[in-house]
């Protein structure tokens, strides 16, 4: 995934946060079966994340959101054709939701501690690691959380309308790590 310029950053000991715009589309398929899952995997050159709360990384990162629903980290235009081909004959739709979300990259040895302040989600690496994702309440707003391969970095996706709130929450929450 190409990194766009950060809109906002925060640094504290053991912690670095960057807010970015991210391309995003939602794909919904009514009652997908194994054949359409396989066709999507082939179209995107990866093992399509059919299991709940899993992520697949290829040219495009794809996260499971709900049964028959996925978030594609791409705008709808470049993925429209492969999706339409793979889903031929299936009731489905693809919506570009790029304007609706903000991506927060949280890195550093204190990233897990910071997440724990805002979400009740169990982020212990024993149960939450690379290849998984989870939607939860973070700082009282709906968030998609994706752990990174490195083990101490997370991507967080929240509604763009809460960006100001999330920024303020991070500033306040990071204070204790400065002491």
């Amino acid at each position: 995934m190409g990194e766009s310029t950060a809109l906002w950053t925060l640094a504290a000991p053991g912690l670095a946060i960057a807010e970015r715009q991210t391309p995003a589309s939602v794909l919904r398929i009514r009652r997908p079966d194994a054949a359409v899952i396989r066709a999507l995997g082939e179209a995107f050159g990866l093992s399509w994340p059919a299991a709940p709360n899993t992520v697949a990384e290829g040219a495009v990162r794809i996260a499971w959101l709900a049964p028959g629903e996925w978030l594609l980290f791409a705008s709808a235009e470049p993925v429209g054709e492969p999706v339409a081909t793979a889903c031929e004959g299936w009731l489905h739709h693809l919506s570009d939701v790029t304007a609706g979300y903000r991506l927060w990259r949280i890195e550093g040895p204190r990233s897990r501690d910071l997440l724990a302040k805002g979400a009740a989600l169990d982020t212990h690496p024993r149960v939450f690691r690379s290849g998984q994702c989870a939607q939860t309440l973070f700082a009282k707003v709906h968030a998609l959380v994706i752990p990174d391969r490195s083990g101490d970095a997370f991507d967080l996706l929240t509604d763009v309308s809460f960006a100001g709130h999330v920024r303020a929450w991070f500033i306040d929450a990071a204070e204790e790590f400065r002491a």
Partner: protein, 89 residues
């Protein structure tokens, strides 16, 4: 705080869920010939036991799926979770 095992996401905090009332209530049909009394019973009269109750919950801040939970209204113990369309027992 309840720990509710979403059939898709596994155990999550109660704050991610919304309660949808008693489960397995059949909507009376056909709508055009249902009596006012039957509609009232369907809409307003539900079980309110002290003890085990089958109820619907939605994982509102997770996968947004509805499912059924059997919960003790006194102890809050949850002994069973099952998907919509699956039999009660």
């Amino acid at each position: 705080m309840l720990l509710i095992a979403c059939p898709w996401c596994g155990p999550r905090d109660e704050t991610e869920f919304v309660n949808g009332g008693e489960a397995h209530i059949d909507r009376p049909t056909p709508a055009e010939s249902v009596s006012d009394a039957d509609w009232a019973a369907y809409l307003f009269f539900h079980d309110n036991p002290r003890g085990w109750l089958a109820e619907r919950w939605v994982h509102a801040f997770g996968c947004r799926q509805w499912f059924n939970v059997e919960r003790d209204t006194v102890t809050h113990e949850i002994r069973r979770v099952w998907r919509l369309g699956e039999p009660r027992a």
